[in-house]
Amino acid sequence: MAVILLPGMLATEAGGERRFELDAATVEEALRSLPIANLILDERGELRRLVNVYVDGVDVRDREGLETTLKGDEEVRLVGAIAGG
């Protein structure tokens, strides 16, 4: 199973859970199964501009984006960009 790691604010919104283990064929499927899916994907299902998703340390925007496939042993780390004052 892939391990999904959430930053603090998303973990709070997910009921305090920072770590999820789940089976998913793609990054999109993994993100959609999280209780905070609508905070990382907008109403068109697109990854929000300031949310970065790293699969084993590689930004999915440098791979196939949300369609990046998962074998099941990856670490998927969500990072909110540091922005604003």
Binding site: G8, M9, L10, T12, E13, I36, N38, L39, I40, D42, E43, R44, R48, L50, V51, G80, A81, A83, G84, G85
Partner: protein
């Protein structure tokens, strides 16, 4: 017990006092990390709703049924693909009427209104605003094209008003199914036609609860009063205000002739005039205005945002003001005298007073 919900750029604080409103304790911050554009306590059941925004995680609404201890987030709030628009911000939550359990209204950007009939769990966009025939003549202000004011007529079911910057004021007589522009007599000095049907930059709109046909409006271009449900407006800032520019507005809940504004120099210098935080009050429907500084800081170059002013319904009524510099000033005597109830908070975006056990 009086609770003043203070929305800030860094979450929500709640100021709590007994009915004497002299000593305040500060609870929070709640909703850490969420810019709380507005929060309100639903008088029907005591639930708190907050219009919350994150530059990273988007726009949503949070609800608490235990006065802020725990929160749940609404399901996805968004705009249909056919609109070619995306939700940018949530701005204002307005509880529905006493006989409409579970109904709430939500204003947001870009110029959108939502309705919930399940106590804020899900929100449906109001198509009549999204697809309004005048939308192509609306423009965003500096804060985006925000629907920031939602006012329900307490006596006439179906009659309600919204204010959108910069689209103007709109009235509905059928519970939001259709909307008529209500901007006659309000200026839009930044437009080629300074008195257009729509496009006015309303900053805040309030209906008087004791005389619902009377509306008050702080606009980018003046302070106005309407006595005919927004059919026509009378401009009032030439009657003793140092400037017609400002954002917040407050009322005396029992006196329809009384209103409070906090003028700023103008659009190009958004601080209070003359180096003091001055509140101007009229008690004659805007025919004259009197400055109150009793207990307010001087010198001060403060600014108060459009949601940063509120009043309660006690007798005498309380008035509350939150500044961008993080201070909350409270008056327990109808605005005669003021004291600082909180200081050094993050930038204050909204203040909403409620009386709840």
């Amino acid at each position: 017990m009086v609770r003043v919900l203070v929305g800030t750029r860094k979450g929500l604080f709640v100021l709590v006092s007994g009915d004497e409103r002299r000593e305040w304790t500060i609870e929070g911050p709640h909703l850490v990390g969420w810019e709380t554009f507005h929060a309100t306590l639903d008088p029907r059941d005591g639930a708190i709703y907050a219009a919350t925004n994150s530059p990273v995680y988007g726009a949503t609404v949070h609800r608490s049924t235990d006065l802020g201890t725990t929160w749940t987030r609404a399901e996805e709030i968004g705009l249909p693909e056919s609109s070619e628009l995306k939700l940018e911000k949530t701005w204002h939550v307005e509880p529905g009427r006493e006989d409409e359990p579970g109904r709430l209204w939500l204003g947001g950007a870009p110029g959108v209104l939502f309705r919930s009939d399940d106590s804020g769990k899900t929100w449906d966009v109001v198509d009549s605003v999204l697809n309004h025939e005048t939308r192509d003549r609306w423009n965003p202000g500096a804060g985006g094209m925000c629907c920031h004011s939602i006012q329900l007529d307490p006596n006439t079911p179906g009659r309600m008003y919204i204010g959108i910057s910069a689209a103007g004021v709109f009235r509905s007589e059928d519970g939001g199914e259709s909307w008529t522009p209500a901007n006659q007599g309000t200026a839009a000095d930044f437009m080629p036609d300074p008195y257009p049907a729509v496009g006015q930059c309303v900053h805040k709109l309030l209906l008087h609860p004791a005389r619902p046909d009377r509306l008050w409006q702080q606009n980018h271009c003046g302070v106005y009063r309407s006595d005919d449900r927004g059919e026509s407006w009378e401009r009032l800032d030439g009657n003793g205000l140092p400037s017609g520019f400002g954002f917040p507005l407050a009322l005396d809940p029992r006196d329809p002739d009384s209103a409070f504004v906090v003028p700023e120099y103008g659009a190009e210098n958004r601080v209070t005039p003359d180096g003091r935080l001055g509140i101007y009050r009229t008690e004659d429907g805007g025919a004259s205005w009197n400055l109150t500084t009793n207990g307010l800081p001087e010198p001060a170059w403060a600014a108060v945002m459009r949601e940063g002013f509120s009043f309660d319904r006690l007798d005498p009524f309380g008035v509350y003001l939150g500044t961008q510099s993080g201070s909350v000033f409270a008056s327990a005597d109808g605005g005669e005298s003021w004291s600082e109830a909180a200081s050094q908070l993050p930038t204050i975006l909204s203040v909403e007073a409620a009386v709840w056990p």
